[in-house]
Symmetry: C2
Subunit: 191 residues, 2 copies
DNA sequence: CGTCTATTTGAATGTACTCAAAAGCGGTGG
DNA sequence: CCACCGCTTTTGAGTACATTCAAATAGACG
């Protein structure tokens, strides 16, 4: 598997010399997953933060009644993990599964901690990654609080048009926090 | 104003020597705000990330119809800003106002950028701060998607009991994404 | 090609909102 | 320190948005 994409992702925020790049990529474990296979199951220890090289994955939370809430979709060039359980090394609350055949690279918590020590620039890199993740999540909270389901659906299509095409309506509904039946009604109305 | 609290906050994640601490505190601007005064108004350029020393502040978004959505409450020992507009130096979407008389310390974007260069440990510090902020926001999203208003209200009281006592129900309602009238109904039912 | 799941449709229901008006409470000025 | 004014909270009736359940249809994967 090529490290081209992940190195280009890193180079958006920090510059690595050759040794640093070699060290960084030596910590990565590549995994190919088929459709519906899971990267992480709820209840398992969340060992990795993962980078999506190809395909698309989905992180979701399932409540006691079995209802799914999609936390995020991860397309190529995105980082994904159950951050809470990764950082605190707890059993995962989320399941992360491949929506279509995908290739991901994993970075273990213990290796990331080493990386921070050996190449402190990565503190900066992940500072920026987490800063952006926080911003996105905060904007989502504002939308959840102040918009109707229909407005959120239209915004989702505008913001993530490629994701909207690749995932099922059921999955979009669970991202928006509505039922698939109601999403179907919304789609008939406007579009 | 004393730098005791903010230095203790920083020392939770990184160790500063005396010169570093002096340099850091030299960048801070202390402000005392009375009840209902604003630290940041929607539309103004968001210049600062702010640390709450005393009191309690509230960040909220107001939509076109005037409906408020409370993004977060900031109590003593918390960092608060409109992260999106701070990072990208845009006009703020949020207003941040004091719920009661408060003391805050401001760190300008340009000074923070300098701080990252001069004392790179602060990359680590804010990496951890933003990581935790992201985790909290993600947990909130899960709750918004999978819980009823009543469950979210009970969780809010369990998680932030001191905030729940200091702010109005109207403000709590706008944090939960419900109307004050409906919150009143919920309170009568159970408690 | 068959099976399994996603999507659509509709009826009945529930959760939360809007509007309006009364009651309560707290901050501010006198 | 008290009283008033304005905002918060309560209460209720009517309404709207979204859910649940069920069944039919469509579509996708092996």
């Amino acid at each position: 598997m090529s490290f081209e994409l992940i190195l280009s992702n890193v180079s958006k925020h920090i510059q690595l010399d050759k040794d640093e790049a070699t060290y960084f990529t030596s910590l990565l474990k590549t995994e190919s997953v088929s459709r519906k296979a899971t990267l992480l199951k709820a209840g398992e220890l969340c060992k990795n933060i993962s980078f999506v090289c190809e395909g698309i994955v989905r992180a979701y939370y399932q409540d006691r009644e079995g209802k799914e809430a999609t936390i995020m979709f991860g397309v190529a060039d995105w980082w994904i993990t159950d951050m809470n359980c990764f950082v605190n090394q707890l059993p995962s609350m989320m399941t992360i599964e491949a929506v279509e055949p995908s290739v991901v690279m994993h970075l273990q918590k213990s290796d990331l901690d080493l990386l921070y020590l050996k190449v402190p620039k990565f503190e900066r890199f992940f500072r920026i990654i987490f800063q952006n993740a926080y911003i996105r999540e905060q904007l989502r909270t504002i939308q959840n609080l102040s918009l109707t389901a229909e407005e959120r659906y239209l915004n989702f299509n505008r913001k993530y048009p490629q994701v909207a095409r690749q995932v099922t309506q059921k999955q979009i509904a669970s991202y928006l926090g509505i039922t698939p039946e109601f999403l179907s009604v919304l789609r008939k109305k406007k579009n």
